[in-house]
Symmetry: C2
Subunit: 228 residues, 2 copies
């Protein structure tokens, strides 16, 4: 079982969040990587409604995840995935074009695909009653679609972005999930493309993803506020 309170790897996550973001909060990406690599980690759970004083020293924007690995502290899912990948070839090939592909596609997921997905989540969940949100949505969905087409082309003749499964797939599959969860026509951006739909299903079928998701949700359920 990867969750072990004595592990030297300590993952900061929220104790509880409302159910509409279950599976989306990004500590699940790190849980997934740990499950893939068979790496034990401890949970350091914080209250999303009352973040601890001084938490900005671990995560400048006071978000999750952050990771302590012995004496060393990391933040940003991409940085943490790269760090875990350094010592685990099951997450990141040690060299050659496969390593270059995995790192390039990881950054592609985070800097070329996710920015649009973040704005879509903003429109779908937080700004949904703003006048600009409904006006912006069609062109944003078009631009996300243009970012997804090259991902589908890459996957037309391979299961995973860099050959074997890697941290690039953890990031990209999770970004696809967040696009799909934003619903309406956006759900179709993934579901209507047979290559992307199959890739998403392959990612979600991995036992490591299923354990990571179950563990995130179990934590939320265990720490559910009485009043909600």
């Amino acid at each position: 079982m990867p969750i072990d309170p004595a592990a030297p790897l300590v993952l900061t996550a929220y104790a509880w969040v409302p159910s509409f973001v279950h599976g989306l909060v990004r500590d699940v990406r790190i849980r997934w990587a740990c499950e893939e690599a068979g790496l034990a980690y401890a949970e350091d759970l914080i209250d999303v409604r009352a973040k601890p004083d001084g938490y900005a020293a671990l995560q400048p924007w006071r978000q999750v995840p952050a990771l302590r690995d012995g004496e060393t502290r990391w933040f940003e899912t991409g940085a943490i995935l790269l760090h875990l990948g350094e010592s685990h070839p099951a997450l990141l090939p040690a060299g050659g074009q496969a390593r270059a592909d995995a790192i390039s596609w990881l950054l592609g997921a985070l800097n070329s695909v996710e920015p649009g997905a973040m704005e879509l989540a903003n429109i779908a969940f937080f700004a949904r009653n703003e006048e600009w949100a409904a006006l912006r949505r069609p062109s944003l969905e078009e631009s996300i679609s243009a970012r997804l087409a090259p991902v589908a082309r890459r996957l037309a003749d391979r299961d995973w972005l860099a050959g074997a499964f890697s941290i690039a797939d953890i990031a990209m599959v999770h970004v696809l999930m967040s696009i799909q969860r934003a619903g309406e026509r956006a759900g179709d951006l993934v579901a209507s493309d047979p290559v992307l739909a199959a890739y998403l299903a392959r990612g979600q079928a991995r036992p490591a993803w299923q354990r990571a998701l179950a563990d995130q949700i179990a934590t939320f359920e265990r720490n559910k506020p009485k009043e909600s």
Copy 2:
């Protein structure tokens, strides 16, 4: 002189772009890193108006930069900066908390600050006549401002994000430049904060940045279309 047609490092960049994006096109980040590390690179210049067939094999979204290093191909500025950093401690510390900080802040620049900056550039340059753009701008500037505050706090007592200058600063300083170039109130988001303004000035004062910018612009000038 870092630009050397015989160098094993080959950077794909645009031959020419309109002047409103001079200094913003992101190959300048890689030129900057090469200048800092004293690393020779060759230019592979492509036409932004007629990208070569097959270019998607080097850069899935058919943008720049892409990098070939001998037999290995990289894309995404973050991935290329990490790759160059691996063998150059002047770009990325080899270990310890300084390395963790540099990689975490690099990803912070690309995944926590730049997404808002990209949407701002979209509003300022490409979608400026859309009805949603003017409506969205105030809340977007607020959200960028909230992303910048922790950067300013980090820099309150240090010159660079990870101690010594690193690839994290190349990314963050360049993202700040792009926010400032989006003008109107956004320019003030950086200029009105004394810590961020001083950081930006420190970055822009580096001879390596100045050579990188000059080389990008010299390339654009040399390949300026007759009709424009």
